[in-house]
Amino acid sequence: MSIFKLTAAALLLGTAAAHAEGPGLGQPLDAAEIPFYATYVKPDGTGLPAGSGTAAQGSEIYAAKCAACHGATGSEGPVMPPVGPNDVWPKPAGSYWPYATTLFDYIRRAMPLEAPKSLSDDEAYALAAFILERNGVIDAETAMTAETLPQVQMPNHGNFTDVWAKQGAKPW
């Protein structure tokens, strides 16, 4: 390495060190202070709480709290129907998404739109079960739980190209 490059490297290191010099005012964060929506249920099921729900139970909750936006049976919409695909929405949650765990997490944190975080864990499991059953991904009898949900094989799972892994930040 030339002296020129060494100097440049030293300058870069110096910049990085100065960069890190904040006033250090972060306060300790206790695990108990972290709400559930600050994490996300992982594809292997890590983060799933206790509880369970079946498609039949989900059907009733769906009719009361979800059908107005997503359609009577889940495929009509108008808002991104979770059952399909169809002409309304080509990427339905219950068949297009690569992991079933995302269904539970998203329902629990974000749905329904006017009252997010109002559903119980059992209700979120039941709704995930209803959507998966409507898409033919699970049968009607299987309850969704912390054990069963991560085992669900989503039909579109192997059909994605990871652009970041393939070419980094280069636009597609």
């Binding site: 306060q27 972290i34 996300y40 997010p116």
Partner: protein, 427 residues
């Protein structure tokens, strides 16, 4: 400015359709040969003194607003499901009514998946946790004492220009509807690396799941590499505190990457070993290709441009000399050049770029033009510093499933009719 009685044959043309060499235009103006400009005006019997020159003006005020006559300069509202899900709402920047490159704060585009939350800044905290040595939380007051950086960057929704992407016939609307989901801001905030280093990222911490404090707690998985290289915790927008619709009191800024990842109302950075496949990276922001397979983790926005003046819904004020003006940008870096065509792509002239040309920022281009009143098609084509060039619409469409409307960056043709109307067309 138009000069309808100009001698078109005497001008120095750079390309077809009347595109002019700038040098020629400037020389012509300097010599005073520009017919119309120096003609004596009809003398008035008495000079008019307007009433505002004969009275005291209004007093100083605490926060200035645009002139009353400019009240029509508004964002275009897009509410795809206004009856059942009104909180899912968007608004587009009216680029055809703006100049320069910085978007006024009140006109920055919005895309809200669950509406704009009303946050008490005193109760808002940023948490950094997961695979870190020291889980930390930061209040707004503490963050004010951190070293800050300032940089101008565009933000573009991955769904910008969605109507051109999927509508069978071109929609006749202004740049606010057609290309309004891109804006450009001078952001100021704390480099994300400073905060992450204070928390101490563990070696296995390769991704960060960022979440907002909005109703849906919108979350995205972001590579640690991006967070540490140029990620910013943005606190200020064009000098003032970030507006509520832009994430007040703090948002994540990832220069050049799709808008959805720049989490607004940021409250949590959870360090993980891998992406967690949130809702937005599972379906809403993945692209179905022509072969039925999909792309995921498509982060950076491609090179793009469009002409703002003239553009659809505008009307030409007669034949003569005009300055074509527009915006160009790339998520991969700086804009290297913008070419303009006034004959539907038969010939091109290289437009002037208004400097400084900044990386991942809107760049204004301009091109002198003598419109002789004939019908023609204007287009702009940007190339970025990596050599990437904007595709034609047909080439872009061929890559994707017919339903895909994300990451659309095709060339925008505007048809100018003999009557001076400007229409959106596909070429």
């Amino acid at each position: 400015m138009t000069r309808s009685d100009i001698d078109g044959a005497a001008l120095d043309y750079a390309a077809g359709g009347g595109l002019l060499n700038r040098r020629m235009l400037l020389a012509s103006a300097a010599a005073g040969t520009a017919a119309g400009l120096l003609q004596p005006r009809v003398a008035r019997a008495e000079a008019e003194i307007p009433e505002w020159s004969k009275t005291a003006g209004a007093r100083a005020r605490g926060y200035g607003m645009p002139a009353a006559a400019e009240s029509a300069v508004q964002r275009a509202i897009i509410e795809p499901w206004q009856d059942v899900a009104p909180a899912f709402s968007l608004s587009g920047t009216p680029h055809h009514r703006l100049r320069g490159t910085i978007t006024p704060n009140g006109l920055h585009y919005e895309v809200h998946h669950g509406g704009r939350p009303d946050i008490d800044p005193a109760r808002h905290h940023l948490m950094i946790h997961g695979l870190v040595e020291r889980p930390l939380q930061f209040g707004l007051e503490a963050l004010e004492r951190y070293p800050m950086v300032t940089a101008a960057h565009f933000l573009e929704c991955a769904g910008n220009s969605l109507f051109n992407a999927v509508m069978p016939e071109p929609m006749q609307a202004g740049c606010d509807m057609l290309h309004g989901l891109v804006s450009n801001t001078e952001w100021t905030g704390v480099p994300m690396a400073v905060l992450m280093e204070e928390a101490g990222v563990k070696p296995e911490g390769k991704w960060v799941v960022a979440a907002g404090a909005d109703g849906p707690s919108l979350a995205r998985s972001i590579p640690m590499e991006k967070i540490m290289s140029d990620g910013m915790l943005a606190l200020y927008q064009n000098g003032e505190r970030i507006r509520p619709e832009q994430g007040y009191p703090m948002r994540l800024l990832l220069p050049g990457w799709e808008g959805n990842m720049n989490i607004k109302w940021l409250t949590s950075l959870w360090v993980t070993e891998a992406p967690v496949h949130t809702k937005d990276e599972s379906g809403e922001y993945t692209e179905i290709l022509a072969d039925g397979s999909s792309l995921q983790f498509t982060f950076a926005m491609g090179v793009k441009s469009f002409i703002t003046h003239p553009s659809a819904t505008m009307t030409m004020s007669g034949p003569g000399v005009y300055e074509i003006s527009g915006l160009a940008w790339s998520g991969a870096g700086k804009v290297a050049k913008v070419e303009v065509s006034a004959d539907g792509g038969e010939s091109w002239a290289e437009a002037a770029l208004a400097g400084p040309v900044l990386p991942q920022a809107l760049t204004r281009f301009s091109q002198a033009w003598h419109w002789d009143g004939s019908p023609l098609v204007l287009m702009s084509r940007a190339t970025d510093e990596t050599g990437a060039v904007q595709p034609a619409r047909a080439d872009w469409k061929a890559r994707y499933h017919a339903s895909n409307f994300l990451h659309y960056n095709a060339i925008q043709p505007w048809q100018v009719t003999a009557e001076g109307a400007v229409h959106n067309v596909y070429l």
